[in-house]
């Protein structure tokens, strides 16, 4: 197991880097061993505090940011709009994390799954008297079903062929959302959306935006953990050498369908939360551009951990909506930034940060050795 973890990690994201958590753990252990010439074992050397801290540094670092984000959002309508946009990009970027980033499946019809989640909330709240919370399982079931059908139809396709089919699928789905007026409300959309009925609690759209941020954070923590577990390893190996995982008894087509279903389910949850936060569902919110930009955010932020999605999404919202001087040219600057990052820092901004950190780390070790 140790061997397989190493070999997959070394190939990860195609840039010959090791996984971030592994690198962290190994780095800390090396320092501890260097500090302790008595040769005591690793577990004995680590105190209780360090054992919690080591390998979970990213999660712990993210907590203050989460609290800051929730604080920043509350009570300010403009901030809430920005946060809604941010968290929607984060959800799409997280939805494509397992299928696209980890497993390299170019089926990119995520805007359709987000739309399904959104429309299931809208349909239940406008057309029925059911509790809106039912929209979540309904959206997940429909989105996963469609992802499985699309996945099974295109199981033999890869590369550009798969990307082209899923782009055509997005176009066709958008036509459907526009034309099927009795179901989707057509171009004028569906709304207003009722709140989820909970005994004794009334939730406002702002509460849903806060809830979305927390759910996105939880999903990111989950994905970050999955990444280094056996499922994550198998998924990552699927991208590099599918024959190898077929040889150890994992059926690649089944695995492909499973990762696509995970992506569809996450996308649908994101769509449902988006609908609750915005109060109306419009068909033009689920275009191909949204998926492409979400894909860029994941790569811009960094592919080695799901946190890249957050950094990338924050940048895209800042560039395309918040900064006044970029009002019309925001997307241009954003796509140029993606090209620059792909050329100069193929691991994304987080990967760049990790590299700078390890450089400082090595420098520190050399200095301490010299002075010591």
């Amino acid at each position: 197991m140790r061997l397989s973890r190493r070999s997959v990690s070394d190939n990860d994201s195609g840039v010959g880097s090791r996984a971030k958590p592994d690198a962290l753990t190994d780095g800390s252990v090396r320092v501890r061993q260097a500090e302790r010439p008595d040769g005591r074992s690793r577990s004995a050397a680590l105190s209780g505090f360090s054992r919690i801290f080591v390998g979970r540094l990213d999660v712990i670092t993210s907590i203050p940011f989460l609290i800051l984000a929730i604080n920043w959002t509350s009570g300010n309508a403009y901030h809430q709009q920005l946060m809604l946009l941010f968290v929607t990009y984060v959800f799409i970027a997280l939805a494509l994390y397992v299928p696209f980033i980890l497993s390299g499946a170019l089926s990119i019809a995520y805007s359709v799954y987000v739309a399904i989640g959104g429309y299931s909330v809208a349909i239940i709240s406008v057309k029925t008297h059911l509790n809106v919370i039912l929209a979540f399982p309904m959206g997940i079931v429909v989105a996963v079903g469609i992802a499985l059908i699309l996945g099974a139809t295109t199981i033999r396709l890869s590369g550009f062929f798969l990307a082209a089919v899923s782009i055509l699928f997005i176009y066709a789905a958008q036509d459907f959302f526009l034309d099927a007026t009795p179901v989707t409300g057509g171009a004028s959309g569906l709304g207003p959306i009722r709140s989820i009925s909970l005994p004794g609690v009334t939730l406002s759209p702002a509460d849903y935006i806060t809830a979305s941020v927390i759910v996105a954070w939880l999903i990111a923590v989950g994905l970050r953990n999955v990444r280094s577990r056996s499922f994550g390893l198998v998924t990552r190996a699927r991208r590099e050498v599918p024959a190898a995982i077929e040889a150890v008894g994992v059926r690649v087509p089944i695995l492909t369908l499973v990762v696509l279903a995970i992506g569809a389910a996450l996308g649908s949850v994101g769509g449902s939360l988006y609908a609750l936060g915005s109060g109306i569902v419009l068909p033009d919110g689920f275009s191909l551009d949204v998926v492409i930009i979400a894909l860029f955010t994941a790569l811009l932020g960094g592919v080695n951990s799901p946190w890249g999605a957050f950094i990338g999404s924050a940048l895209v919202v800042e560039f395309t909506y918040n900064l006044q001087q970029f009002q019309n040219t925001g997307t241009l600057f954003f796509s140029l930034a993606v090209i620059v990052v792909l050329l100069l820092a193929p691991k994304g901004l987080l990967g760049y940060g990790a590299e700078i950190k390890s450089l400082l780390f090595r420098l520190f070790r050399i200095l301490t050795r010299r002075t010591g």
Binding site: G14, I167, A172, Q174, N328, L332, L342, P346
Partner: protein, 292 residues
């Protein structure tokens, strides 16, 4: 059957898709790389030439030439600045290069939208004469020009790949780049020629299509890329003329589906056509025969 005027329009669209597919195939044959950003260059040439005529009041012929040249320059720049460096890194499979060309496509679209405005510009027909009447069907001169130029371009590329040194080298290099390099063939120069040609053909397609009168929006690049790709897959790579066949099949299928099922059926029909060809005949209608 759809009315004759629709079929003639489909023929024109088919020529357009076929030219984009031919542009793709140049780069694909020489480098094995699929330059998905070509659609944006097609769009750029179209908008740029329309802008030069409408805003700068440049003569049409000059504006068209500048538009075509701009597509060729964009094609070479995207290769030299983005595609080549990422391909040379050689890691991560096709994903980084694919994302990079998508980013290039996006950047060119946004650049065009920023510089030339976000609304379609009016464009001029190349020949201002009353349409030719064939029975009760009117055929505009622009369609005739489009078809004739498309056929000339395909014939020229056909002759070029069969007769000229560089045309034959294009296929030789594409078949095995390492062997070609070992033999001392000018691999890099062939690559440059392929990207220039691809840009020129794409630029010509864009300016021809824009002169149709409908105007071209800056966000059309993505769908041009997609339709060109489909035309290439449907046609196959067995002959220089195959992209034209693919383009005509695609355009006719789209026209027929709109006629039969209404305007909303266009994207569904394209999706079904793609699934049929990708699933059942991924080598296209004219597959390359290999003698063993």
């Amino acid at each position: 059957m759809p009315p004759a005027s629709d079929l003639i329009a489909a023929f024109q669209d088919g020529c357009f898709f076929g030219l984009i597919a031919l542009g793709y195939s140049m780069v694909l044959e020489a480098t094995g790389f699929f330059n998905f950003a070509l659609g944006a260059m097609v769009m750029f040439a179209a908008i740029f030439s329309a802008y030069l005529v409408a805003v700068i009041h440049m003569p049409l012929a000059l504006a068209v030439m500048v538009g075509i040249a701009s597509a060729a320059i964009l094609s070479v720049l995207s290769d030299q600045l983005v595609i080549s460096p990422i391909e040379k890194r050689g890691t991560g499979g096709e994903l980084p290069a694919l994302v990079a060309v998508t980013a290039v496509l996006f950047a060119i679209q946004q650049f065009a939208g920023t510089v030339f405005g976000r609304y379609p510009l009016p464009s001029e027909s190349w020949i201002n004469r009353p349409p030719l009447m064939w029975g009760s069907v009117a055929i505009s001169w622009q369609i005739i020009v489009t078809v004739v130029i498309t056929l000339l371009v395909f014939a020229a590329i056909h002759l070029w790949t069969k007769r000229s040194l560089y045309g034959r080298l294009l296929y030789a290099v594409g078949d095995n780049r390492n062997a070609a390099r070992t033999l001392g063939l000018p691999v890099n120069r062939i690559r440059l020629v392929a990207f220039v040609l691809s840009g020129l053909i794409g630029g010509l397609a864009g300016t021809l299509f824009a002169s149709n009168g409908g105007g071209v929006g800056f966000e059309n690049g993505f769908s041009y890329s997609l339709y060109g790709f489909l035309a290439l897959v449907i046609g196959g790579r067995g002959s220089v003329w195959a992209p034209l066949l693919g383009g005509l099949v695609l355009a006719n299928a789209q026209t027929y589906s709109i006629y039969r099922f209404g305007g909303g059926a266009l994207d569904f029909a394209t999706l079904v056509l793609a699934l049929i060809f990708f699933g059942l005949r991924p080598t296209g209608l004219v597959a390359r025969r290999v003698r063993i």
